[in-house]
Subunit: 111 residues, 2 copies
Amino acid sequence: MPVLKFDEIEAEMVRPGLERKIIHTGNLMTVLIDFTDGPWEEKEPPHSHPHVQTSYVAAGEVIFYCEGEPDQHLKAGDMFYVFPNKKHTVKLVTKHVRLIDSFSPLREDFL
Amino acid sequence: MPVLKFDEIEAEMVRPGLERKIIHTGNLMTVLIDFTDGPWEEKEPPHSHPHVQTSYVAAGEVIFYCEGEPDQHLKAGDMFYVFPNKKHTVKLVTKHVRLIDSFSPLREDFL
């Protein structure tokens, strides 16, 4: 079935405080990420990947850091994108943050 | 800037009751769609496109119709994906529905 019903699919616990649910088709992957261990005093270490990424802040607030760009305070309803191989990260400002991250091509490391 | 702050970017009115805001990078596009004219008695006419699509229901409830699949009642937090050239559509169940649609490659018809 081409649907993921939130209440019916168990999340993958990446680590305590970070769960995700994934759908993908062709070269497109979308990842629902729930962080529940905010707020954080420090940002996560920046990372990069060759995939392009778009993100939608579905709940909560984050500081978004992207190499070469001013820091951005984003809240539910805001969006960002990431160029290939550009270092980026976030810091949680609220206890719960939900991000909807899309990638192309697939993040094979998530499968 | 690689961010779209919801409160700072004017939406594109596609038609009364349907507004959208778009980000894209490389071959990846994400479209924030706010419908405000639900609930609908009928679904929109099904459409298809060669792009792969994933969608996140960010607010409200819809019936999701996809060729060859059973109808699906989806609500905020649920997701779906669409194969290339597969006919699909939605019907609003609530007054306000927000969908976060991602496409690859870009929907040039949206630019």
